[in-house]
Amino acid sequence: MRPDDYSIEVKNLKKTFQVRNREGGLFAAKRYLQIEAVRDISFSIPKGEIVGLIGSNGAGKSTTVKMLTGILTPDQGSIRIRGMDYRKNRRDILMQIGVVFGQRSVLCWDIPIVESFRLFRDMYSISEQTYRKNMDIFSELLNLKEYLYQPPRLLSLGQRTKADLAAALLYDPEILFLDEPTIGIDVLAKDRIREFIKVINRERHTTVVLTTHDVSDIEALCHKMLVIDRGSLLYDGTLQGMKEQYLAQCGETSATGEIELEHIIKQIYEGSFL
C-alpha cells in the first residue's frame, strides 16, 4: 500500500499529564504526579475504513482522539493525516476532518441550527451547490427538516446529535471522528445514526474513527478494531480476527457456538485476555 493510501498514520505517540499530588498533602515529597495517558501507540488506518477505538474509561481513548484531531499536542511521536502534519498543515488538515463529540455540541446553543450550518458553509468555504446537495441528503437521511429552524436548546439529545453529525459532514471531510456519538440516545435514533454513517462511508469512502462503549455500535459498523488499555495499544485488527484469536487462546464457547464480542471485551478489560 502506498503511504498516501493511509488516512491516518500514528507512530510512537505519547502524552503525559501532570497532576498535583493531593494525597501527600502540602508537604509531599513529589508535588506533581506524572500520568501517562498514552504511552507509545502506533497504528495506521487505510482510507475508507471504519475503525472502532475502544477501551475502558480512562484508557486513553479520548486523549488519543484529541491528539488525532489536533486539539492536544502530543509530547512525542508523530501523527500524519493524509500525509500531512499538524505542525505544518494544520489548516489543511482541519478542512478535511469532521468531528462529532457525543457529549459536546458544535452548534450555537441559542440560535436556530440552520444558522450554524450556514456558518459552517462559510467557515469551510463550501460552494452553494455542495451545501444544497448535502443539506438535501442529510435532511432526508436524518429528518433534519423537522427542527431545522429550532435552536439546539429546544432539541432532544438525539436530534441534536443528528444535527451535529450533519454539521460535521457538510464540507465533505475525508475523515470523520466520532467520539461516543450514540451516548444517551434511544434505539431508533441510534439505528438511524448508524445507517447514516454506513451510507456516508459507502458512498463517499469517508474514513471513520469511532470511539464508543456500545459494543453493538462496533458490531454494526466497524471493519477493524483498535483496543487501548492503560495507554497502550493491545489489539489492532479485524473483529473476526479477534474472535478467532480468543477462541484459539481461551477455547471457550458459548451455548450457541458463537462468541459474543461483548464477552471478549470484558475479558480484555479484566486483564484475562490479550
Binding site: F17, S62, K66, T69, G70, I71, L72, T73, R91, L94, M95, I97, V99, F101, Q103, R104, S105, V106, C108, D110, I111, E115, R118, L119, D122, M123, Y124, P151, D179, E180
Partner: protein
C-alpha cells in the same frame, strides 16, 4: 471574511435571544448614570470645591464615561473561561478559523447590539432630559437633579473626530485586555478570583468610576505607566475636555503603543498556552 461576518451576526443574535436581558441592561445603565450623577453633584455641593477640580468638567466626564462603558464592556474573559473550564474549547480549536479573530468578531456583533439598544437610547435620553430640565414647561421632581447640568455642553464637538479614533483604539485595548486575562485560564483553569481582583483594579484605574485627575499624586503617576487609563480616561477626556492638538496626539500614541504591546503579549500567551491546554472532561 464572510465567516467572520457570520460570527458577528451570531454574536448579535445571541444578544437578542433574550429581550428581557436587553431591557434590563438598558434600565440598569440609566439608573447607574443617574446615581453617578447624583453622587458627584452632591460631592461638589459640599466639600470638594477645590479650585483645581472643575465641577462641570467632572460631571461631564462622569456622564460620558458611563455612556462609553456601554460600548466598552467586554465579556470575552468569561467566555474563554467557560470554554476552557468545560472543555468546550476543543470544538473551537478544530475549526479552520482563528480563535481570537472569531472571538473578536462575536464581540463586535455583541457591541453592535449594545450600541443600538443601550448606547443610543442613553445618549438620546441624556440629551433630551438635559434640555428639558432647564425649560419652564417640564419640571419633573425626580429630574430636578439634572438641572445642574442644564445647558451643559456634553462634548467638545471639534474634538469629536479624535475622540472617536481614540474610542476605537480603546475598544481594541479593552478586547485584548479581556483576552489576555481569559487566556490565563490555560494555566489557572478557574480565573474568576483573578478576574475579581483585576476587575476591581481595572475599574479604579481605568477611570470609569472616578476621573483619574482626582487621584492622589502618587497613584496618578503610577497609573501613567499602566494600560488601564487607555480604555476610559484617555478617550473620555478627549471627548469632554478641550485640549491642545499636541496633547491629543500624545494620548492617542500612548493608546497605540499599548495596543501593540497587548497584542504581542496576547499572541505570546496563546502560543505558549495552546501547548499547555488540558481539555477538561471526557
Amino acid at each position: 471574511m464572510r465567516k467572520y461576518v457570520d460570527h458577528m451576526t451570531i454574536g448579535m443574535k445571541e444578544q437578542l435571544v433574550y429581550p428581557g436581558a436587553v431591557w434590563a441592561g438598558l434600565f440598569s445603565k440609566v439608573l447607574y448614570l443617574y446615581l453617578q450623577f447624583c453622587i458627584w453633584k452632591a460631592l461638589f455641593s459640599d466639600c470638594l470645591e477645590k479650585p483645581t477640580i472643575n465641577r462641570t468638567d467632572t460631571l461631564r466626564y462622569i456622564i460620558i464615561a458611563t455612556i462609553v462603558s456601554t460600548i466598552m464592556e467586554c465579556n470575552v474573559t468569561e467566555k474563554i473561561n467557560a470554554q476552557i473550564q468545560s472543555g468546550n474549547i476543543a470544538i473551537e480549536l478544530i475549526r479552520p478559523i482563528g480563535f481570537k479573530r472569531m472571538l473578536f468578531a462575536r464581540h463586535v456583533g455583541d457591541t453592535a447590539v449594545k450600541m443600538i439598544c443601550c448606547t443610543l437610547p442613553l445618549i438620546v435620553l441624556t440629551t433630551v432630559t438635559m434640555q428639558w430640565c432647564g425649560a419652564d414647561g417640564l419640571r419633573l421632581p425626580f429630574l430636578q437633579e439634572w438641572s445642574a447640568g442644564t445647558g451643559m455642553q456634553l462634548m467638545c464637538i471639534d474634538q469629536l473626530g479624535y475622540g472617536i479614533l481614540s474610542l476605537f483604539l480603546a475598544y481594541g485595548i479593552q478586547f485584548l485586555y479581556s483576552l489576555i486575562i481569559g487566556l490565563l485560564a490555560f494555566w489557572l483553569i478557574v480565573t474568576w478570583p483573578v478576574n475579581m481582583f483585576l476587575g476591581a483594579v481595572y475599574r479604579l484605574l481605568s477611570g470609569v468610576w472616578i476621573p483619574v485627575t482626582l487621584f492622589p499624586e502618587l497613584l496618578y503617576r503610577i497609573n501613567l505607566w499602566l494600560p488601564f487609563r487607555a480604555v476610559y480616561a484617555i478617550p473620555v477626556s478627549i471627548l469632554t475636555t478641550e485640549m491642545k492638538r499636541k496633547v491629543i496626539w500624545q494620548s492617542v500614541s500612548v493608546q497605540m503603543v499599548w495596543l501593540v504591546i497587548l497584542y504581542g503579549f496576547s499572541l505570546f500567551l496563546w502560543r505558549v498556552g495552546r501547548k499547555k491546554l488540558v481539555v477538561q472532561g471526557g
